[in-house]
C-alpha cells in the first residue's frame, strides 16, 4: 500500500498501519495534525475516526 499520510511536524509519508501504531503508542496526541493529498486541510486526530486509537488521556 502506498504511504499516504502526512503528519504535521514529521517528515515523510506514513501508511495507515504506521499512523495507527504511532497513535496507539502515544507518539501522536489528539492534537497532532494529519492529512493526505486528498484532504484539503489538516485534521486533528481527535477530529477523525482515528481518535478511536487514542489512549485515554492522550
Amino acid at each position: 500500500m502506498n504511504k499516504i499520510w502526512r503528519i504535521r511536524g514529521k517528515e515523510g509519508r506514513f501508511t495507515d498501519e504506521e499512523l495507527i501504531r504511532m497513535i496507539e503508542k502515544g507518539e501522536l496526541s489528539k492534537d497532532d495534525y494529519i492529512s493526505t493529498n486528498e484532504m484539503k486541510t489538516w485534521m486533528k486526530i481527535k477530529d477523525t475516526i482515528y481518535q478511536f486509537y487514542l489512549k485515554r488521556g492522550n
Binding site: 500500500m1 504535521r8 511536524g9 486528498e38 484539503k40 489538516w42 475516526i49 478511536f52
Partner: protein, 585 residues
Amino acid sequence: MNYLPSKLLKLRKHYNYSQAHLAEVLGVDVVEYMAYENGRKVLNYAQCKKIANLYHVGVVDIFKNTDEVTLYEVSNAKTDELNIEYFIPKKTFDERIREFIKNNPVLVGMAAGVVILGIIVIALFGNNNDSIPYEASLTNINRLSVSETTVVYIYGDGAVKGSGDNSNGQLSNLPSSSAIKVAEGKDFTVILHNDGTLSAAGLTGSELETISKWRNIVDIAAGDDHVVAVDNKGEVYAVGHNNDYGQCDVNGFKNIRKVYATSNGTIVLDNEGKLSFTGEFVGSSQLKNFSNIIDIDASNDNLVILDGGGSIEYIAKYKNFLNIYKWKDIVDVTCGDAFVAALGKDGKVLIDCEDARMEKEVAKWENIIAIDSGNDYLIAFDGERIYGTGRNEYHQFVSDDFEQTVLDQVGDVKISIGEGTIDVSFAAVENAGGYEVRLNAGEGNVKKVASNQMVSFFADGLVNGNNYQITITTLGDDEKYLDSEPLVVDFTYIRPGGSSTSEEYIDIDVYFEGMGVEEFKKYLASIGVSNIICVETGSPCEGDTQTIISVDGISHGQRIARSDLANAMVTYYTCQIPGPEEGNE
C-alpha cells in the same frame, strides 16, 4: 465518542443496502463489517474511500468524526435483490436515439478505452443517416488518445506525437503522417493508418508480426497487454495476453463496428448498437440491458454510455453519478475511477466527481472538441491545446493545478525581548499566503500576519528565567500551496534589567480548580503573592462554598522564582453563590 457506527448505519439505511453488500464492497466478511457498525473496529483510510465512493460523499465526510453526513436523494436506490454487486440505473434507452440521429447533425467524440486507454475521435453525423459510419471514412481529424501513463495526439496531417512515459519506447518513432487512430497499452502504442493497416511502437515479436498482417482495419483498441481490431466487414481480431480472462477470445463477434478494451477485457459495439464483451469487465453481466448505443468509455470501476439523444447512462461498481442525469446535448463521454465527464455540444466539459479542484479546473475549459481520461486524470482538446486535470505523474499534460507544494519554513528567526514585549521577526517565504506565530504562554498568544512583519507579544504573563517556545507556520492557500511544517524556536525569557541567577524557585504543585477561595488565598499568601485580582463569574456555585474556576498568572506544574512571585499579578475566577430568587423579596 466514535461517531462512525451511527454514520455508517445512517448511510446504509438511507441507500437500503445490506451489511452483506457493504462487506462485499469493502472486501471483508460480514462479521468484520458489523464490527465497524457497532464500533468495535474502525475503517482504515482505503475503506473510507470505498465507502465515500459508494455513498457519493467526500472521503473526509467519512473520515471526520462527526455524525454529520450528506444524504443524497436516491430515486433509484438499489436493493440487494436487484443487484448484489453493481449499481445499475434503471433508466432505459428508447427510440429517441434513432430520431435524434436522423434529425440532428451531431459532433460526436468517440471515446474508447479503458482506464488505461481511451480513444477520442470526432465524427460528424449527417442527416438521413440510420447507421453510424465507420471511422475510416473520416479524414483529417485531430484526435486524442489517453492511457494511464501517456497522452498521444494525432494532428490533421496524420502525424502522431505523444507525451508521458516512454520507458519502453512506446512514444518513439511514431509516424509523421497517415495515422487516423491510436491505442495505447501498458507499454506500447498501436497506430491505425488511413490505408487500414497497423503499426506499433514498443511492441515486438509475434504480436507485432500479427498486427502487421491485419488489413482493412477501421477501429482499434488496446488493453494492458492485448490489441483488438475490427475490419470493414465487422470481423474482430485480437492478439496478446489471453491468460485467465479470455480477452482475446473474439471469434464469436460478428457485424462489429467499434472495439474497446479494459485492462484485461474486450468490449465490442455491433451495428445494431449493442455491446458484447469478453474477458474481465466491471459490468459485464449488465451489458445486455443496453441497446442503441453510440459510444462508451470504461475505467476499472465504471462504464459510461452515450445514447443518441445526447444523454448518458452508467454502470458503476462503487459510486453514484447522479448529476449526469441533468446533462443534456452530450456529444462525448469518458470516465475515470472517481469521475464521469462529458463534452456538451457547446464545447463545455461537465464532470461529476467529489474533487472541487477538478471541477474548478474543468469549468475553465471552453471550445473543447474531444475529451478522454485515464484512471485518475481527465484530458480535453480544443483543436490547438491539450488541457488536463488530475494526477500527472508522468507529465502527460502541462498543468500545475493538481501539484500541491508544501511551503518552506521561515528562516532567519530573531526573538527580541523588549520592555514588556517579545518581538519576533523572520525572513519571508516565497508564495506564502501569511504566517501564524504562536507563543506558548497561555491563551490568545497566536497572531496571524499577511507578511513577514515583526510580531510582538506582551510579556506580562511570562516568568523570568522560564523557557518558552515561538512556533511559526508559513500559511498556504489550501489548494496549490500547503502550510509549512511548524518551525519551533526555544528561548529563555530573561526580563530586561533582571536576572535569572541566584534565585530561589518555587514549584507550584497545587491544582487550583475547585479549591475554596479562602484556601486559595492562604496558599497565595504562603508563597508570597500579593498582587491578586478576584473576578466573580456568573457561574453559580454548586454548594455554599465559593470555589476557584480558573487562575491566570500562575499554574500547576510551574517553577517560578520567588522574586517573580512577589511581582506576579494573579487573577482568579470564582463561581457565584446563588442569591435569593427573583420575586421572593
